[in-house]
């Protein structure tokens, strides 16, 4: 790929220090000319930045790091099965040992039946996965959980003294009020406890945050280790949101002005004097597309509108008509060329 020497110089200097406003525009124009140009630019930035980290990486002690990883394991270690010719099936000892093991196994089973569970029947956990689309789950007490995509819920078949569920992913809960039985959700290492209310929880295993957003009613949000400590439980009311940082191990209340936190659930997108660049961000996230605003003036215009389960092109059409915008649909990008407000 051949790049104009002048552009190359601009790129180099933008990497090291700043460019004048005029030069920035030149570079931006070149970048927007084609996906090829933009990718080239991004590649150079990545390489340039990554290279400077190399000396820092060289100093890392990989062996020590591994030591830390392997030492943070649960108490009961997995017993590795070693291949040993001594234990070949033809060996008499093995046959005897196998019988012994089976006996041990059944004793253990009897043990758990006799001593670990209560005299009542053993209650099983049911698991539901949502995969590619939303899924609604009805719980034994009448509560309804709507799972977002790629999420899973586990719940006890019978809700006895406590209504207990486990969540991995994102879900909206509509909990039936029951003052006798607390409803407790285990989301990663956090617990959310409610009486009767509706709220959303996000707890993806791979992500660093566990979040709760309350739509109505009240919940208590706390770390699983703080079950008995009433003062450590954060109480959240309608409209409030909290986030737990797994690495920092801290909870913080989040002020959310985002009207569209539950769009995935309701299909409704609402804008109330929302700036166009925020509108675009929301649409990009909801529809998974790339939208570029050509004109900065237009980006500051405000939009008030509600969309209920409408297609993206219908929404774009509303924007187009409202602000007399030119819409260009490219391969993977939608370009909006606005004039102003």
């Amino acid at each position: 790929m051949n790049i104009d020497p002048h552009i190359e110089s601009l790129i180099l200097r933008s990497l090291e220090s700043g460019l004048s406003a005029d030069e920035q525009e030149q570079l931006l124009t070149w970048r927007n000319t084609s996906q090829e140009n933009e990718t080239a630019f991004q590649d150079f930035v990545k390489i340039y930045k990554a290279a400077s980290v190399l000396p820092k990486l060289d100093k890392l002690d990989t062996k020590a790091a591994f030591g830390k990883v392997i030492s943070k394991q649960p108490e009961i270690p997995e017993i590795p099965i070693k291949r040993n010719p001594f234990f070949s099936p033809k060996n008499e000892f093995w046959k005897v040992a196998a019988v012994f093991l089976v006996l041990l196994g059944s004793v253990k089973l009897m043990d758990s039946l006799l001593f670990e569970s209560s005299p009542e029947t053993v209650i099983a956990w049911t698991k539901v996965n949502s995969d590619e689309s939303k899924k609604e789950v009805s719980l034994p007490d009448g509560s309804i959980v709507t799972l977002a995509e790629n999420s899973s819920l586990e719940y006890l078949e019978v809700f006895d003294k406590i209504r207990s569920v486990k969540l991995n992913g994102r879900a909206f809960f509509d909990v039936v009020r029951d003052e006798e039985r607390a409803f407790v959700i285990e989301a990663g290492e956090m617990n959310v406890e409610v009486l009767g209310t509706s709220f959303q929880i996000e707890a993806f295993e791979e992500s660093n945050a566990i979040e709760v957003l309350v739509k109505s009613g009240e919940v208590a949000f706390y770390h699983e280790g703080d079950k008995e400590k009433e003062d450590k439980k954060l109480k959240l009311k309608k409209g409030e949101k909290a986030s737990y940082d797994k690495l920092k191990k801290s909870i913080k209340t989040v002020i959310t002005k985002d009207l569209n936190e539950l769009s995935w659930l309701t299909g409704k997108i609402t804008f109330n004097k929302t700036q166009i660049d925020t509108v675009i961000k929301t649409l990009e996230g909801f529809f998974g597309v790339d939208i570029v605003i050509e004109n900065q003036d237009f980006a500051n215009c405000k939009l008030s509108a509600s969309f209920d389960n409408q297609e993206l092109d219908e929404i774009i059409e509303v924007i187009r008509v409202t602000y007399d915008v030119e819409v260009k649909q490219e391969a993977k990008t939608i370009r909006l060329i606005g004039k102003g407000c």
Binding site: V53, V69, F204, E205, E206, A209, S243, K281
Partner: protein, 203 residues
Amino acid sequence: MESSSDIKWLKAGDESSFQKFFETHYKALVGFAFKYLEDIDESEEVVQESFTKLWEKRSSIELSGQLSGYMFSMVRNVCLNKFKHEEVARKYKAEILHTSNEFEGEASSFDQEMHHRLHQLIDELPDQCQKIFQMSRFEDLKYAQIADKLDLSVKTVENQISKALKIIREDLRSVRSLHLIILLNFFRNLSRGFYKASCLANG
């Protein structure tokens, strides 16, 4: 190919294979996290945490691609989520919004390979080009300072850095290097197969 044999040692709880895997990819993953976090200690923490999680959940893991790709994605998602509700999100908003797109949340192969190959590629740069590139990237010198030290014009310095970037980029983007990687994995698996077979034969 690699994915199925990775899964085998992982599910079997083979700690020494886990260690080898860790040692092969640790620095590249830390470098990758650094892009988002800009702090080396935090980056190490995030990567170690990801590996700890991987090992804890090893029996229930399902892979749709390569394990190394999975690790890059995990690290990236943890990093991106840290910023989701902070102003710093502006920088990577495009990435945050497109996490669930056609690549299924996989960190690009360009990124992965870059972190593994960068050292080698820099070592292979022509002499003066390498020297100048290293002075800029490793010693943190400005182009003007480098020009001064080496008694060259700033333009020459810029050209050499540009040349370095182009050479490195061409290699990372070339189909040739992709084939090389696939071939290397293929041979690695072959030799693993031979090793296993001979073990069983000898009891």
